[in-house]
């Protein structure tokens, strides 16, 4: 049958994946610390009918050959770690990272990473994320502390009602050579992979690590206008691929009608 049918089908499939990624981005337009993704495509292999430079029957050389491609395939869904917008809050446990770095969390012994700094206290006074996964290194609020401050370098102080400090410490951030290689665990969490490389931990504000801003949250970096445009482009590309299928189909029909 006509190869064009299958080629156009790869095109439609690719656009479908693109729409899936756009839909997930849009669904997370208000998710704190969310990083948008992009579906990446590349062309498939080419079938070579005649090579350029091949000899013709009368001894000449073909200046160009015939190579016909087989369509497109998805290669990656790349996460884009561009900075999201900041939103001011009045909560002392809302922290945003300005620049590179991830908060480290202890998910049952495994270190996971997040940009979402909407932290809470658990019943023991330890700082954790919304699911109760504790921060690394652990930050514990003494029972009679009322005020908590963290500076841009990550040094925190918990003090009582009179303002005298009861506990202090410093948080660490983690950084990756290739953050795009992190795997998404969902729930705003990432885990390291071979592609991302191992995490390098360091103090906020030093050696290229970002700084910490208290009473701010980093919002999703999804840009609604961009995603809308991507959606339109994807839809139209899907449509034209379907037209290619229709054309191939009607040509097959004509071929079938040759014999009456």
């Amino acid at each position: 049958m006509i190869r064009a049918l299958w080629t156009a089908a790869t095109g439609m499939e690719a656009q479908q994946i693109s729409q899936d990624v756009v839909a997930n981005n849009l669904a997370n337009v208000n998710t704190v610390g969310f990083k948008k993704a992009r579906a990446d495509f590349q062309d498939l292999m080419y079938q070579i009918y005649s090579k350029s430079g091949a000899e013709t029957s009368d001894g000449g050389q073909l200046p160009v050959g015939i190579e016909i491609g087989m369509g497109v395939k998805p290669v990656a869904v790349q996460k884009m770690f561009a900075q999201g917008d900041y939103m001011q809050t009045s909560n002392q446990f809302d922290w945003a990272i300005e620049g590179d770095g991830f908060f480290q969390l202890d998910d049952n012994g495994r270190t996971v990473y997040t940009r979402a700094g909407n932290l809470k206290l658990n019943s023991d006074g330890a700082l954790c994320n919304s699911e109760g996964i504790k921060l690394i290194p652990e930050v514990t609020m003494p029972p009679d502390a009322v005020d908590f401050t963290i500076d841009s370098g990550g040094t925190w102080t918990a003090s009582d009602a009179t303002g005298s400090p009861l506990a202090t410490g410093r948080i660490e951030l983690a950084k990756f050579i290739n953050p795009a290689g992190l795997t998404s665990l969902g729930r705003n969490l990432y885990a390291s992979t071979e592609a991302s490389g191992d995490a390098t931990a360091g103090n906020p504000g030093e050696e290229g690590f970002g700084t910490v801003s208290q009473r701010f949250l980093e919002m999703s970096n999804v840009n609604v206008v961009d995603e809308m445009v991507r959606m339109i482009v994807g839809q139209r590309a899907y449509e034209i691929n379907s037209k290619a299928i229709q054309t191939a189909d009607s040509m097959l029909q004509m071929a079938n009608n040759l014999k009456r």
């Binding site: 006509i2 064009a4 080629t7 156009a8 095109g11 690719a14 656009q15 693109s18 992009r38 990446d40 495509f41 590349q42 062309d43 292999m45 080419y46 009918y49 005649s50 350029s52 430079g53 013709t56 009368d58 000449g60 073909l62 160009v64 015939i66 190579e67 016909i68 491609g69 369509g71 497109v72 290669v75 990656a76 790349q78 884009m80 561009a82 590179d100 050579i177 290739n178 795009a180 290689g181 071979e194 592609a195 991302s196 490389g197 191992d198 050696e207 290229g208 482009v233 139209r236 590309a237 034209i240 691929n241 037209k243 290619a244 054309t247 040509m251 004509m254 071929a255 040759l258 009456r260």
Partner: protein, 237 residues
């Protein structure tokens, strides 16, 4: 008569290849760095040279290397080439070239393509370590204000001799294309060069193919009518 039908059938089969080519372009209408394929019919003229225009003889595909539009992505390692240059990439089977600048760093801090192949710089692969990375318009990569490496940008005297592989790669297997150092092209960091496939052009191409195919079908039908008539009448004699 039978010979005439065969010629028409061959011509129709070539229209199918032409449709395959248009469909491949359409499938890649959103693939950054993709260059459209053009299906051309060439006629061997009396002098032996090839001329364009005659139907259904010696077809060839040519790559249209015209510039695609630029899309802003703000991703530092999304690189677009404005001009006729190509990035050089080291694959398992040797050096290949590409217009697709969606690069990332791998776990060793080397600049790689999405297939994981090393992007070539001045001396082999490009290792980037440090902060404040900038890529200038002439392809110089600087880290923290110091020049670290430069992208190897290549252009070709005869780009038509390049063989198109998959994954947006091109190869020059017999050194016919004449690679030379490219200095006029500009590198734009944070941008991608989009596919240069034009949807309208491909739609028109498809309509054209379908109608051409249809007229070949009609000719074949007419010829076979005539065959039938002549055999019928000869039978009556």
């Amino acid at each position: 008569m039978i010979n005439g039908i065969e010629i028409m059938a061959n011509a129709a089969i070539k229209q199918i290849s032409r449709l395959d080519c248009a469909t491949h372009n359409i499938a890649n209408v959103n693939t950054p760095g993709f260059k459209a394929e053009r299906f051309r019919f060439l006629k061997e003229s009396a002098g032996g040279g090839a001329t364009e225009g005659s139907p259904a003889q010696g077809p060839a595909t040519m790559v249209d290397y015209s510039q695609g539009m630029m899309q802003k992505t703000d991703n530092l390692f999304d690189l677009a080439i404005n001009g006729k240059g190509f990035f050089a990439v080291k694959t398992q089977d040797g050096v290949a070239y590409t217009k697709d600048g969606r690069f990332t760093l791998n776990e060793d801090g080397a600049l790689v393509t999405q297939a994981g192949d090393d992007v070539l710089g001045r001396k082999g692969k490009i290792i980037i370590a440090g902060n404040d990375i900038q890529i200038s318009q002439d392809g110089v990569i600087s880290v923290g204000g110091n020049e670290a490496d430069a992208l190897k940008i290549v252009s070709f005297r005869e780009p038509s001799a390049l063989v198109k592989l998959n994954m947006g790669l091109y190869r020059d297997p017999d050194n016919l294309a004449g690679a030379e150092k490219e200095e006029e092209s500009q590198i734009q960091s944070g941008y991608l060069e989009l596919s240069n496939v034009q949807a309208i052009r491909e739609m028109v191409e498809m309509i054209n193919i379908q109608r051409t195919f249809e007229s070949y079908q009609k000719v074949i039908q007419t010829m076979s009518e005539q065959n039938k008539m002549s055999t019928d009448r000869i039978g009556k004699l």
